[in-house]
Amino acid sequence: MKLIFHRKRIAGTLVVVPANERSFAADMKNFNFPKSRSLKLKEVMGFDKRRVVGPDVCVSDLAVFGLEHLFERGWLKREEIDALIVVTQTPDYLIPETSCVIHGRLGLKRDMLSLSLSQACTGYLIGLIQGFMLLDQESIKKVVLVNSDVLSRKVSSQDRNIYPLVGDACSITVLERDTEGSVVHAIVRVDGSRSGALMIPAGGMRQPHTSETAKLEDVGDGNWRAREHLFMDGAAIFNFVQTEVPPLIESLLEHAGAPMDSVDFFLCHQPNRFMLEKLADKIKIPRAKMPNDVVGHFGNNSGATIPTVMAFNLGERLLREKLRVCLAGFGAGLTWAGMLLNIGKFDFNTIIEYK
């Protein structure tokens, strides 16, 4: 579906990562897996360091920490927030939604909108789309978009397919109206028939938590996982990305009437280096235009990978200048989306550590 927004901008973005760092090489020692193959995975996929929370840290902890940092620095005023959108699939509670939890902890004003969206690796784009729509309301001048997951708490430490690559993070993006005549083009797509490729089967209403759903099961290749843990069919996801994302980007550029070489950077979700290199090759752009090293520094932190690329790869540049970028997210749902826009001259664009 094609979408278009006028006179909206990203004012700045802050990413909060846990101070606790784990290494791929050390994690892989816990598995019965040849060292030579681990080294090859590290080299090809780009897995190395990742940031994970402790066992009791929730999304609201990271978000409150980050928002207080913004208030202290004067980058955002508490009373300016007219809408708070939280995109997460690892909420603090089933009820109430996490945006209200953050609202209460920060003592925000009552005359505002609080909203939570359950979206995975496309979540940042879905959140931006929602935020831009809210900015059409006269009374909404500033939207805060929190996109955060603590997925490390929902993966089995005995599942080699996923445990050594997942990271946690919280991104906080401020959206506002743009006085310049900027145009944002976006495309969103979904295929719910393939939802089984990335899923946590138990713990919701369909298969409520019991001692059985929490029990580790032998899932082959020496891996153990409970039904309450995240399952990922890596090969099916790889296929999905290679098949669906290139035509999405093509349609997006066509929608915007923009040639491929007018785009300065392609800032994509960051599952691993291999997938992004293949994606860059497939859409025939230089690999340098599609940064791919977030996973090796922070791990795959779900929807927050896109703001992490902005801050990690283009941090200083986006404070000084404006760049034309194509954002692309893809993941559980399955959902995938792209957005073409000018970003830059940010008020802030940095990464801080949560201790």
Partner: protein, 76 residues
Amino acid sequence: MDKPEFYQRLAEILDVEEVKPEDVLKEFDGWDSLAILSVLAMADAKYGVSIKAEEIRSVVSAQNLANLVEAKHKPE
């Protein structure tokens, strides 16, 4: 499709000198999730063929794999 060339590409992915048509894929030490992704990427980049993950898991020998790619491959 140039079959010897396909087996050579497969050998590079599996990190071995040579792959014969009758070789059973599962018996290679290097036949793991990364190798499967590499085969998917190779089939896509070199032959313009999209193979599904289920399809690749159901093949036994190197020849089965070559046949699967060839069946989908449409020469330009």
